[in-house]
């Protein structure tokens, strides 16, 4: 059983010092040194807050990672997911030996390399060919290995014509192609891919993802994949690990990991996708409001976590004591800081006439939500003619999580409320 385990991480922790390194560096070093010669433990290892970006801590020291444990079996594709600043990149940095852990250990049975560190160490004055050798050697290949794959690398890059030209004459796209060609021909036992570091155009992104699929599927190699793109994680990974505030809170199959991640990223609703209201004595009332998400292939999910690009359905359950003739329902979507974003009013879309006193469910499907990742609140109002008969301010919320909506492998970023489907082209003037 343990023979399959290619990578074993035990009690891995990493402590960082916050603020500017400088003041007090010497005094802390001295304290450490004194503790060491007296045979005591490092005094600064005992303190430290957990890694929570949003809350203000008391300690100068923070644990970017705390007691991470996991095993990776040979041939497995492990997706590491978590919010920004949860500690994913720190983990990858330690795995790729760029920085050392504070405590704990990593044991590996194979060579580890990162795929998307493209172009590291390119020298502009040197030719493409010379840079292939230099870059390959930096990534851990021997000269012999590179020489045997040189033709393959050159043709994969599609830069044959310029291979003896200095790289400074290359377009940026060509540089990326060449760099990726080198990285793609690495043959490590364990490959680390951090999507956050990915650069380049859509074609390059697709190539990178495609290469990764090849590596894991046909070569049976082990891959550690970090991404915010849940669709990519789902399609590539076999297992997942969820990191939150520097702690590994879940390891298991990828579906469950993603579900838990999406659930946890919704702080608004405690994981529920509906609210119920107490019965009142009135002729009309809303008893329940429910949100469902519908993904791009039409699957429904009882969740108020919505991937960008997904549709949502809002259901308003109503109890009627009397009959109403002309009922209007409105849904108002607001951002978490109070900006009113959209009003979806039934009477602008459809006339809903009913006369008998029955229980109804108003169902609104919002096709183009176009919202950027974040938390949103929904206000429900029901009116008869022009009189509001029921209003529930900010009664339910939903969470939009990042997704590759343009199909480019890149995720729209920025502090904006909405995104728009758009086209870009470049024409000669």
């Amino acid at each position: 059983m343990s023979k399959d385990v290619i990578l074993k991480v035990e009690n891995l922790s990493k402590q960082y010092r916050l603020g500017t390194v400088g003041t007090g560096t010497i005094s802390h070093d001295l304290n450490r040194f004194i503790a060491k010669i007296r045979g005591k433990e490092d005094p600064y290892l005992k303190i430290g807050d957990s890694n929570d970006r949003a809350s203000k801590g008391n300690s100068e020291y923070v644990w970017a990672l705390k007691d991470i444990n996991f095993d990776v079996k040979r041939g497995e594709v492990l997706g590491i997911i978590g919010k920004n600043g949860a500690g994913k990149s720190t983990l990858l940095k330690i795995l790729s030996k760029v920085t050392g852990p504070t405590t704990g250990s990593i044991k590996s049975k194979g060579r580890i390399a990162s795929l998307l560190e493209v172009g590291t160490g390119f020298h502009p004055e040197m030719t493409g060919r010379e840079n292939i050798f230099l870059n390959g050697a930096i990534l851990g290949m021997t000269k012999k290995e590179i020489a045997s794959k040189l033709d393959e690398i050159i043709s994969f890059s599609g830069c044959e014509r310029y291979v003896d030209t200095p790289v400074k004459r290359y377009s940026s796209g060509m540089k990326v192609r060449l760099a990726f060609a080198v990285a793609a021909h690495l043959e490590p036992d364990i490959l680390i891919v951090d999507e956050v570091l990915a650069v380049g155009d859509a074609e390059f992104q697709k190539k990178a993802i495609g290469k990764m699929q090849d590596i894991s599927n046909s070569d049976g190699r082990t891959v550690l994949f970090v991404s915010h793109n849940m669709a990519a994680v789902k399609s590539l990974c076999t297992r997942g690990m969820l990191i939150e505030n520097g702690k590994s809170i879940f390891t298991g199959d990828i579906e469950n990991t993603i579900d838990l991640y999406l659930k946890n990223s919704s702080l608004l609703m405690n994981g529920k996708n509906y609210v119920e209201f107490k019965k009142k004595k009135s002729s009309f009332q809303v008893s329940k409001v429910e949100i469902r998400s519908i993904n791009q292939i039409g699957e429904y999910k009882n969740s108020c976590v919505v991937l960008m690009g997904d549709k949502i359905e809002i259901l308003i359950y109503s109890l009627l004591e009397e009959s109403y003739s002309n009922i209007k329902a409105s849904i108002i979507i607001e951002s978490i800081n109070g900006s009113k974003i959209a009003a979806i009013r039934s009477h602008e879309i459809e006339d809903m006439m009913f006369s008998s006193s029955k229980n109804f469910i108003f169902k609104s499907t919002i096709e183009d939500l176009n919202l950027m990742p974040g938390e949103y609140l929904v206000t429900i109002a029901i009116a008869e003619n022009n009189n509001t008969i029921s209003i529930h301010k900010e009664c339910i919320g939903f969470n939009v999580v990042p997704n590759d909506i343009y199909g480019t492998g890149r995720i729209p970023k920025g502090n904006y409320l909405i995104y728009s489907k758009a086209k870009w082209e470049l024409n000669q003037a």
Binding site: P101, E125, M126, E130, I138, T142, K144
Partner: protein
């Protein structure tokens, strides 16, 4: 599980003496490619590039000759003052280049070190090796002037010990690398040291017997009348002995004792291994502090 099943292990605490030289050997191709990069790019960047290597020691030697020999009247015996200074400047330059270029290894390569892992030691080692080319060019200039003065009728000849010259160059590279590694490790935390290097190296030159013979220094700094002796300032400096040794080998001029040689060699080896240890300890976590 048997420990030997694992290819490698990453842990916070390492044996201080675990220098990972095996890994450096595995990356020897990278070392040579870095050297090649440095050599190629120097020529590619500018037409005057290699020429600057000639101009710098020549002009320094000319000024030294004017100031120290003509104005201050330092005697260099049989040897033409200019050649005397050129020999000193050439060997001093190799040490200085090795020291200054390696002393900012971590800071200068932060970007690449922050992304990929390879034994960090490769970087300063490649600098010391590629500096050999620069040294070779300067030595060639020295030989040209040597021939010129020889043909103009000066009686100059190398010593039989000139065959040990490569070993001396190796020692100079080692002490430069050792000091450079120590400084670069400390610079990651205490930036103050960068200021110290640029001006410290300048001061060091004056106590390194670059433009005066060691014997003369001893004559002038030991005052028998009032018993003061400042000659230890120079005598304790292994670089002074190295510069003196190089002149002894190339020009058969200078005082070299067995004690000086042993002192210099031991000092160099200690500094070199100390540098390796400190560098090795720093390379694991410097990216967090730099």
């Amino acid at each position: 599980m048997n420990k030997k099943d694992w290819l490698f292990e990453i842990t916070p605490k390492n044996n201080l003496l675990d220098l990972n030289l095996k890994e450096v050997w595995r990356y020897r191709d990278l070392l040579m490619l870095f050297v090649k990069r440095d050599v190629i790019t120097v020529y590619k960047q500018t037409v005057l590039g290699p020429l600057w290597y000639l101009i710098q020691p020549l002009f320094t030697s000319i000024i030294f000759t004017l100031v120290f020999n003509n104005i201050a009247g330092i005697s260099t015996g049989q040897i033409p003052s200019f050649l005397f200074n050129l020999a000193g400047v050439t060997s001093w330059n190799y040490f200085k280049e090795c020291l200054t270029a390696t002393s900012d290894t971590f800071k200068k390569n932060e970007a690449i070190f922050g992304k990929v892992y390879f034994p960090r030691m490769i970087m300063p080692m490649s600098i010391v090796i590629s500096n050999l080319l620069k040294f070779g060019i300067q030595l060639f200039v020295f030989v040209c002037f040597y021939m010129y003065f020889y043909l103009s009728g000066y009686t100059i000849a190398p010593n039989i010990y000139v065959f040990f010259f490569p070993i001396l160059v190796l020692l100079m590279g080692m002490i430069g690398l050792g000091l450079g590694m120590i400084i670069s490790s400390m610079v990651t935390k205490y930036r103050d040291l960068t200021f110290l290097v640029s001006f410290g190296v300048q001061l060091l030159m004056y106590i390194s017997a670059v433009m005066y013979p060691l014997n003369l220094m001893r004559e002038k700094l030991i005052n028998l009348e009032n018993g003061t002796d400042y000659s230890w300032i120079v005598d304790l400096n292994p670089i002074a002995h190295m510069v003196e040794m190089s002149r002894f080998m190339l020009l058969n001029e200078g005082s070299v004792t067995m004690f000086n040689i042993i002192y210099t060699v031991i000092f160099t080896i200690i500094i070199f291994f100390l540098g390796l240890l400190i560098f090795n300890k720093t390379e694991k976590t410097f990216i967090d502090t730099i």
